[in-house]
Subunit: 257 residues, 2 copies
Amino acid sequence: MAGPGTPGTESSRTESPRERYRSQVRAEVKERAWEQMAEAGASALSLNAIAKQMGMSGPALYRYFASRDDLITALIRDAYRGLADTVRLAYGTGEGEPAGSGAGSGGGPGADASREAGRASRGAEDATAPLARIAHALRGWALADPQRYFLVYGTPVPGYHAPEDITAIADEIMRTLLDACPAPPADRPATPFETHLADHRQWAAGHPAPPAALRRALSFWTRLHGVLSLELAGHFDGMGLDPDRLFAAELDGLLAP
Amino acid sequence: MAGPGTPGTESSRTESPRERYRSQVRAEVKERAWEQMAEAGASALSLNAIAKQMGMSGPALYRYFASRDDLITALIRDAYRGLADTVRLAYGTGEGEPAGSGAGSGGGPGADASREAGRASRGAEDATAPLARIAHALRGWALADPQRYFLVYGTPVPGYHAPEDITAIADEIMRTLLDACPAPPADRPATPFETHLADHRQWAAGHPAPPAALRRALSFWTRLHGVLSLELAGHFDGMGLDPDRLFAAELDGLLAP
DNA sequence: GGGCGCGAGTTAGAGGCTATCACTCGCGTT
DNA sequence: AACGCGAGTGATAGCCTCTAACTCGCGCCC
């Protein structure tokens, strides 16, 4: 199916013209698929409609994707990859860089939102600056294409199990989060849940973060997902509050203690 | 379920036999729909398959539901209704009641989980007991049928707008949450976000809760949704941690300060 | 008690979708 | 120059939603 070497996403070097064309068509199909998904959701994605848009006849697309599920899986993979890159880039970004372009597949807004993170003039408070940058990058990435976010964190299809390379990216995201979590002062007593985490840390196997940091990464993940997914789903719409400030407040409460 | 008066889900009194039969068939269709949804997700819901299961031929169901979307909307309405009832009932439950049966449509697990809420022997800490009961009832309701939870809080369909009677139920849920939020000690200074909420409280219009309580209800909602939705979607599956304890820890952190 | 209206259920069918199969045709390699 | 392989085609099966025209029988009204 895919070219030589790894059967992953993009081709490697020394592409033959055939392979070149092939991956180009695959990319265009995925682009149309993203458009369709943004305007009608994942369930409305139609291979047929995409083919017609591209001036081809229905079954032609089966040369490029084995099935509709296969296309959706590819989209999920790209979404995970883009999110992991976005998070990693936000973590790695120092203070000087203007953040540049080319983050994953979506790009768009949210690139400069990480500027106003922690300008608190204290030296010790800078330890949470990477987390703040990640938080704003995450929200920017999500707002740029909500359906893409929901492809990662939205309603699961009961039967579906993601292939291993996708779960590997999910692990990578958690690893970056752990990297960004500052080690807390060691003298604070561990909470009961932290002692539980000390014994149940398969997901952080091989990572040196102490239990308190695991707890922090977990809170960061679950709490930001809570506000963000409700915002993206429109549940704050008629309420009159400013989602921006709600997110900022949640982030504040997360970084302060 | 919902008694007479409102023209919502069930029929009113003095039903003619025709109407009786009609609402019975509607109920059976919805039951089969829930089964289908539980095992294959909302996008796999098929009117045709339901009709065949019931020994009828396809188009017959259009006597009972105007379209597939209409059926799904009815399911969404029932889900909201059941959630609102569950939350309300958990809030209203005193200490003596054994919780009984007949909570909404799902019932099932989580009914007795609210017992171990706040046994801290302090008198002032009991103020958070209703919130704890609601939290456990919410999780029980969600675990009993994850797809039902996702019908309320999962991936939204871009074009879809819920009818007004459904948003009314959503408001009712928020109102119950506000009822359950204890008023904080008035001497604490307001956070910036709380002052924002003081001016942007359309969603709590007519409710006497102070801004700090609004903030608390909002946090309760977003944070519990964060852990719960990630658990239901299976994102903790390979991680080795106990979702039960994670939820309890999140709830603890929510009620303590 | 008898006639009739209304609603439940049927079949036929249009149009859309996924997916398979057999086929043609042209580019790039040998 | 010839050939193989892969891109694209139309035909087809089977599923779906939803409409239209029709039949049949229960229950209401006179």
